[in-house]
């Protein structure tokens, strides 16, 4: 190696220098309180702020919170119990709530429904009997129930006047109140989505993580499996898996079985996302550093890699929930999946899926409204989450 010629030492002073006088960095640029908050904020705080920009997403979040909250107190919210039926009021049309009776303000009330049988068309005809108002009672005692299966109570938020009826959304062919059934159905339909996503999330994380982190033939096999599952038309898989559920199972077990089936076919999307992110992040310097420092793979994945894209995952998961809810309704339509006596929105919609309902008793199709609202809410909420997911961009 030849010697390197170094330049001669400086002959004059450099024209810049580092002063030794005390210096206050804050005097150069002053941060406003907002900016300071912004730069000091944690990742989650940033996400929340960005999320709030999406106003509809916020509203959707509130709606979802309310709906899920309602499943905790369904018994109190619903005017009737799930099984209550009134065979005198079959296929009753929805009762309107009035405030004024003959010009006077009476408070919320309904009129009694008079039933006549039209023997020519074999139809039950209901007319409002405007004789006297039947005021609604609030925070009253109605059908008894077991709150959360433990406490015997009978408080309802709203009940009909004694001896009267309150069918805000009409009744079905056995005289059961549609509104109450929708509220009870929410329990099953909404929780299937959550449970299913939970299972699917866990599966996707595990399998995708393994594939992404280890690469090689693990990755190859996982990719093939994913490809196979995704290539498969969903319907036949659903049908076959549902047919496997033994008929001897109780409704609850079948419910869990259906949830598991929906989840089993859903994890692939998540797994792919996890895998591709891991493949990318695996090459980052901090990962190498961690590895060199002797961290175990689980710690690397859990502590270093995952937080980088957890927000994305949550957003994807949220966006998959509507698919589950719709899957449940599709399964009910096909005649597999949940069936009466279990009540879910899918079961209710399936019962409404015939020409009689469309032409004569359209109020039985109302369960579709909460389905739409929930799915829209989840979509917007998930969009907001996804937009907010990577606040550092």
């Amino acid at each position: 190696m030849s010697t390197i010629e170094l330049p001669p030492p400086a002959t004059r002073e450099a024209d810049h220098f580092v002063s030794t006088e005390p210096f206050d960095p804050g005097s150069a640029t002053r941060l406003t309180p907002e900016q300071e908050r912004f730069y000091l904020a944690s990742q989650w705080k940033l996400m929340w702020w960005k999320f709030k920009l999406h106003r509809v997403a916020v509203v959707s979040g509130i709606i979802l919170l309310l709906m899920y909250g309602s499943t905790l107190v369904t018994e109190i919210l619903a005017p009737y119990n799930l099984q209550t039926r009134n065979t005198d009021f079959i296929y009753a049309s929805p009762q309107r709530v009035h405030l004024f009776h003959e010009g006077r303000f009476v408070g919320p009330f309904v009129y009694a429904q008079k039933k006549t049988l039209d023997m020519d068309t074999l139809r039950r005809v209901y007319t409002e009997d405007r004789a006297e108002p039947h005021p609604l009672r609030f925070f009253c005692f109605g059908d008894p129930y077991r709150f959360w299966g433990m406490i015997d109570m009978s408080v309802h938020i709203v009940c009909p006047a004694p001896g009267s009826t309150l069918f805000l959304l009409g009744t079905d062919r056995l005289g059961r109140d549609v509104l109450s059934r929708i509220l009870y159905g929410a329990r099953i339909s909404l929780t299937i989505g959550l449970l299913g996503i939970g299972i699917s999330f866990a599966l996707g994380l595990l399998i995708g993580g393994l594939a992404g982190y280890y690469g090689g033939w693990v990755d190859m096999t996982v990719q093939r499996i994913i490809e196979i599952i995704r290539s498969f038309p969903e319907l036949p898989l659903w049908m076959a898996l549902s047919a496997v559920l033994p008929v001897t199972w109780s409704p609850i077990l079948i419910y869990f079985g259906i949830t598991a089936i929906l989840a089993l076919l859903d994890w692939t999307g998540l797994a792919r996302a996890v895998r591709s992110k891991l493949l990318a992040l695996r090459e980052e310097d901090y990962t190498t550093a961690a590895r060199l420092m002797g961290a175990k793979p689980s710690r690397i994945i859990g502590r270093h890699l995952l937080p980088g894209f957890m927000s994305h995952l949550i957003a994807s998961a949220t966006l998959s929930i509507p698919g589950m809810i719709l899957g449940e309704t599709a399964l009910s339509f096909l005649g597999i999946g949940l069936r009466p006596p279990i009540t879910s929105w899918g079961v209710l919609l399936n019962e409404a899926q015939n020409i009689n309902v469309v032409a004569l008793y359209p109020w039985l199709m109302l369960p579709v409204v909460p389905v739409i609202v929930v799915i829209l809410a989840f979509n917007f909420f998930g969009d907001g989450l996804r937009d907010a997911a990577d606040p550092y961009r």
């Binding site: 065979t87 074999l122 139809r123 062919r173 056995l174 008929v247 069936r339 020409i355």
Partner: protein
């Protein structure tokens, strides 16, 4: 004035009877062109020499005019076989009074139910013009039924009596004779069934597929070319008279299917060689064409309501009535309500062969069955599900059957919770748990699980209603829906303790029809599948019945089979019905359920009130759709309005 009119009418009547020749030479207009061109022989040569003259069965029946198309809907390609059911051209058939009368046959000599001499109509031809003779019977007997490849499992059950086959003789070109050693009273009903026993084949057509006639090599070559496994497979495939899926196969039905499967629209055209004529000597059928559309079964009520059909009954349910009624005027049809022939629209079947020993003991205890029956609020079910139009009943024959007795219908059907509870107490089920449920002797709470095939909301609804009243007996009821095959398997194997299904399928029997439903004769019976299997498999499978009344039922059934006298048969029937009513082997709920029938305004001769029954009756078959006709004058008048 009145006298004058009477005289004129009488003269006119006289003149018409004199003037009308025995067989008018009127051609159906749709065939006239072919006859003129020489492609078809004239009608006098197409009819048998002694055709069946159809006489008015009811007062509102009228002679008809030719022409028109009838549109109807079915749900599957396979349902094209319904046209063979509706066509109802049989060797012998049931008329509207449920009497067996010769149809394709000119005459049947029945000696003792042992010897049946069948007389064909001379000159009767297949739908392709070739003669229908006893050769077609011989072909079936020797070349199909006794051919090892075509019938590896032997003769069909209906031809065997205690395992013994009949003696078959061809007496001449139009006469054959079947002779059994023991009486075979099921022979004629089997020939008249909607899915009949075919003891003849179009020999001239099928020969080309039979190894005996074209040689084994050629037959197998044909098979391979057509994609069948063997010549027997090809022969079998081409030979499905009931499936109606081979447009080339000659038939004796009033309409011929011209569309091969798969199809979404089948076109059936008139059979030019059909053997029936009306009282004016005109060859039936009146209607030229039938169009069968295939569509999803859930859509059929909608399409019917939209006016896409001229005649529809299948896949219409009682709860569609209101919807159909709504569109009557707009779409120019009207809805009639026929009575279903089921003994009970829905019935519960306690499984006397249940696997679980405790439940089996209970199911075999008549007091338990009676208690369950008393605990059903049939009135409420009738009001809620059947609009109050049904009739509370046990699972027995209908009122219009000659074998009906009021005490059969009302046996154990009163809604009496006190009596029911007393019966349950008397069995010893007095212990109860904290929730008020009775306990089985081994301490388990009485949770009765009823299996359903999961297909009808009607069954689910009825079970909902029953659940509540049985709760007051201290019995918790759960329904378990499954799929049809699983459902059946569970019942047959004993895993199911009780099931729900439609009631007695033949609610309008005569004493000459088989009482097989009332005794364990086949595995298919949901209340005693293993006892039924025992009988069905010749005492080799299943279990032998032990309950004394059931043993008696089997004995009575055997007696009926060997009986020669109509009187004796009736007595046997009544005794069997009485035992069933008293022992409540099946729990009936509501009968006289109604079936909507949609008929276009201009379609005539469809009965206003009828009975909708598979066997006997063949749904429409008994009412002779070949005599339905389309009144175009009325349509023209209606559209002119």
């Amino acid at each position: 004035m009145k006298a004058l009119i009477i005289r004129i009418v009488a003269l006119a009547a006289l003149a018409s009877t004199l003037a009308a020749p025995a067989f008018a030479a009127e051609e159906p207009p749709s065939l006239a062109a072919d006859v003129a061109a020489g492609k078809l022989p004239p009608v006098t040569e197409r009819l048998p020499r002694v055709p069946l003259v159809f006489t008015a069965p009811r007062s509102d029946w009228t002679l008809g005019r030719y022409g028109g198309e009838l549109r109807t809907l079915q749900a599957k390609d396979r349902d094209i076989r319904m046209m063979v059911v509706y066509g109802y051209s049989r060797l012998v058939g049931y008329d509207e009074q449920l009497h067996l009368t010769p149809d394709i046959l000119e005459k049947v000599d029945n000696v003792d139910s042992r010897t049946f001499t069948l007389h064909l109509r001379p000159g009767h031809k297949w739908s392709d013009g070739k003669p229908f003779t006893t050769e077609d019977f011989r072909y079936y007997w020797e070349d199909v039924a006794h051919n090892k490849e075509l019938s590896p499992f032997g003769l069909p059950q209906a031809l065997l009596v205690n395992g013994h086959p009949p003696k078959f003789e061809v007496l001449d070109a139009t006469t054959v004779r079947f002779t059994w050693v023991e009486p075979n009273p099921m022979f004629l009903p089997a020939l008249a069934a909607p899915s009949p026993l075919y003891i003849y084949r179009p020999a001239h057509y099928l020969r080309q597929f039979h190894a005996r006639y074209v040689g084994l090599e050629k037959a197998n070559a044909n098979a391979v070319e057509a994609g069948s496994r063997s010549w027997a497979g090809l022969h079998q495939k081409k030979d499905e008279q009931f499936r109606f899926d081979n447009p080339d196969l000659p038939t004796l039905e009033p309409w011929i299917n011209t569309t091969p499967l798969p199809a979404t629209r089948f076109v059936l055209v008139r059979n030019p060689y059909f053997h029936r004529v009306d009282a004016n000597g005109r060859q039936l059928p009146y209607i030229d064409k039938i169009i069968v559309g295939i569509t999803d079964d859930k859509l059929i009520p909608a399409k019917t309501g939209a006016g896409d059909v001229d005649l529809q009954v299948r896949y219409l349910r009682f709860d569609n009535y209101t919807f159909l009624k709504q569109s009557e005027k707009r779409n120019q049809y009207h809805v009639r309500l026929w009575e279903k022939a089921l003994g009970s629209q829905i019935a519960l079947y306690p499984n006397l062969n249940a696997e679980d020993p405790e439940w089996r003991k209970l199911m075999r205890d008549v007091r338990f069955r009676r208690a369950l029956s008393l605990g059903i609020n049939r009135h409420e079910i009738n009001e809620v599900v059947y609009f109050g139009l049904g009739r509370e009943s046990s699972n027995t024959v209908l009122q219009r059957s000659a074998l009906f007795r009021p005490e059969f219908r009302s046996a154990w059907t009163k809604f009496d919770l006190k009596a029911a509870n007393a019966l349950l107490d008397s069995i010893g089920l007095t212990r109860r748990d904290g929730a008020g449920l009775r306990l089985l002797p081994d301490g388990r709470p009485m949770e009765l699980i009823i299996d359903t095939s999961g297909e009808s909301t009607e069954e689910t609804d009825v079970l909902e209603l029953i659940r509540d009243s049985w709760r007051q007996l201290g019995i918790a009821m759960f329904s378990r829906p499954s799929q049809r095959e699983v459902f059946r398997k569970r019942v047959f194997s004993g895993k199911s303790m009780m099931s729900i299904w439609s009631g007695m399928s033949n609610g309008i029997p005569t004493a000459d029809m088989s009482p097989g439903e009332l005794a364990p004769t086949t595995q298919e019976q949901l209340q005693w599948p293993m006892w039924g299997q025992y009988y069905e498999q010749g005492r080799k499978g299943g279990e032998a019945p032990t309950a004394p009344d059931v043993v008696e039922l089997v004995k009575l059934f055997e007696q009926w089979r060997n009986s020669g006298s109509a009187d004796e048969r009736e007595k046997i029937w009544l005794r069997m019905l009485a035992i069933n009513a008293d022992e409540v082997y099946t729990i009936g709920i509501v009968t006289r359920a109604l079936q909507p029938v949609v008929v276009r305004d201009n379609l005539r001769n469809v009965p206003v009130e009828g009975i909708y029954s598979w066997d006997p009756g063949a749904y429409f078959g008994m009412y002779h759709p070949d005599t339905f006709w389309i009144d175009t004058a009325q349509t023209a008048a209606a559209s002119a309005k």
